[in-house]
Symmetry: C2
């Protein structure tokens, strides 16, 4: 088992990564004084619940916990105020109190939703994340929790750090290949913003990662979470540095907004976005290698690098202007200056961005 500490003063917490951790959960919970007397809300989605909920409930009940299971439909639509309110109602009816814990068993949607319930219920109760996707390694570090508004993602939320994150590599074995790749996009991103050696390692080990070999997967998650933890511990509330985690996201979010549902997964959209950011980096003077390596490592992970030609450039430009990372009307771009190094730019011309978006349609 690997262990990583997210350093946030009195809000510090550990991430445990390993095989079979769900079997040992009672011991880990005991170590963290997760209250047994108060009911525990266990949130999952239908897909994840069908595989892992029953044994987990059984393990926790055997260990003396009062478990209140709550299963929501899979997918982004569950990150709504309506589902949030249902979970609050469930928590109230089950008698959750200030010493209760909310446990998120699932991917990013479940983590964000359950985390916001934990943040809001009685103004904040304890929260444990059990991510079951690779992508969720990203959202499980940093305490950003939220639900969506019909016209804006993640607009209603909080910063609420978990007590601990428990990553059981066994739960990742059932991921479909497309989601494995999409999840690796955020792993690659963590390399690209912070750690050149890790980028090279990902490229060399991409086959093992795609095959979900536990040793490689555990290391990639450990390193990916580690970069994120390092950045977040230096800037918990995203005053400045934390913005670098948005590499690929300015374009990526716009693509998600413009593409049909499911045409582009989040990881796929930011993969294309990172290629765009690399192109901008090169246009602003970075070595050409920044672009070629970025593209190569993403492709090695089975990710798309070309923007579907039918997505309208005007619509993408407009969507970018609605992003909440806008600062007083200016686009904030994270731009690579070298492999493993980025800078925050607010001075990019709309013309350069537009040209970059257009060229993304020609990547091969």
């Amino acid at each position: 088992m690997r262990e990583l500490n997210v350093e946030l003063g009195e809000r510090s917490y550990p991430i445990y990564i390993g095989e079979g951790l769900l079997t040992d959960i009672a011991e880990i919970f005991a170590r963290h004084q997760i209250a047994q007397k108060s009911p525990l809300l266990l949130v999952s989605d239908e897909q994840v619940a069908s595989r892992y909920m029953a044994p987990l409930v059984e393990t926790l009940r055997t260990a003396g916990y009062t478990v209140v299971p709550a299963v929501v439909p899979p997918g982004e639509s569950s990150k709504s105020l309506a589902v949030f309110e249902q979970l609050i109602t469930t928590a109230l009816e089950a008698g959750l109190d200030r010493h209760s814990t909310v446990v998120a068993l699932g991917g990013g949607v479940v983590g964000d939703l359950a985390g916001y319930v934990a943040a809001a219920y009685m103004r904040g109760i304890r929260f444990v994340q059990i991510p079951t996707t690779i992508l969720a390694h990203d959202s499980s570090v940093g305490g950003k929790v939220a639900v969506n508004h019909p016209s804006a993602k993640n607009i209603i939320g909080a910063f609420h750090q978990p007590e601990l994150v428990l990553y059981d590599l066994g739960t990742l074995q059932s991921l479909p290949p497309r989601e494995v790749s999409a999840g690796l996009a955020e792993v690659v991103k963590h390399g690209l913003i912070w750690d050149e050696a890790f980028v090279r390692w990902i490229e060399d080990n991409s086959a093992d990662l795609l095959a979900l070999r536990p040793e490689a997967l555990g290391y990639a998650l450990y390193k990916g979470c580690g970069v994120k933890a390092e950045v977040v511990s230096r800037d918990e509330r995203e005053h400045s540095l934390r913005a670098i985690l948005n590499l690929g996201h300015t374009i990526g979010h716009a693509l998600e907004a413009v593409a049909e549902y499911d045409e582009l997964l989040h990881g796929e959209a930011i993969s294309i976005g990172m290629v765009g950011a690399a192109r901008i980096g090169v246009a602003l003077g970075a070595d050409e290698e920044v672009y070629t390596v970025t593209k190569r490592v993403l492709q090695a992970c089975g990710l798309p690098v070309r923007l579907p030609a039918h997505l309208d450039t005007d619509a993408i430009m407009k969507a970018m202007q609605h992003d909440k990372k806008f600062k007083e009307g200016r686009m904030v771009f994270i731009v690579p200056t070298a492999i493993g190094r980025v800078e925050i730019r607010q001075d990019l011309s709309a013309a350069l961005v537009r040209e970059t978006v257009d060229r993304l349609k020609e990547e091969a």
Copy 2:
């Protein structure tokens, strides 16, 4: 103008108390770098808005602010997730960004609601409180913001400290007498938990307070906010000490839950609750004076001390057990040990509490 600082490290903020402060608001906002480029959401209720909204909007617009007014119906029913969502929609449509500020102009309902919007929007933007009731002196210190769930008050919320609180004594002059008294209940509470001399002062100056004389009123708010600030700065997240602010609230909240809407205002319910707490204190060994002085100062402020006889004791006892201040099934009571001193007790017998509730029906 009086100025008081709420000491909370990097979340510290000042409370300004004085006459005519709304006229000087642009200067105060400038001092606190309230952003002019980003839209500002000004939340109020219909009653308060009809008196103070238009001139305030005018003053702020003249000073260069883009003001987005949002008026909600008066009363507790506006502290709902539905109204919260409407305000988030308004904020989104008006283009509020991370540098925007939410300003609450009104009493506790508006402050709690607008504060929760500020806490949740983009995971937290800046917040300014302009309380227009005496009662709101209490909720304006400490950063507790929330909306209600149909079956529990303040269950969905956050700790979100304002940038500043601006108390313009002019806005209090239109308060109806019953609300003046109800507001003074929390002022008296702050004396009873922390400051005997202040309790004596309130009793001596109750006529001036009821007449809303600015000098007395300003001092009472300054002292009331000061006690609350002192307590909150020692225990921001209510781990322990902050619980003493609940003096009178265990019984008081139960009375509010059982009484018909509007039969008892919050301040009236906690006035009766504080008499109950004082009786319990005496039963546990405090000097009889704790009870007599508590009752006398509350009556001097025009507050009820007798529990309406038709309120069912069983129902009150049951409501107490649903209070979120319950700790693993035990009632938490704040019990006076002397005037200006209280202790936190979790060991009271249900029999003593029941007997106290019954005796409250016989107070004269």
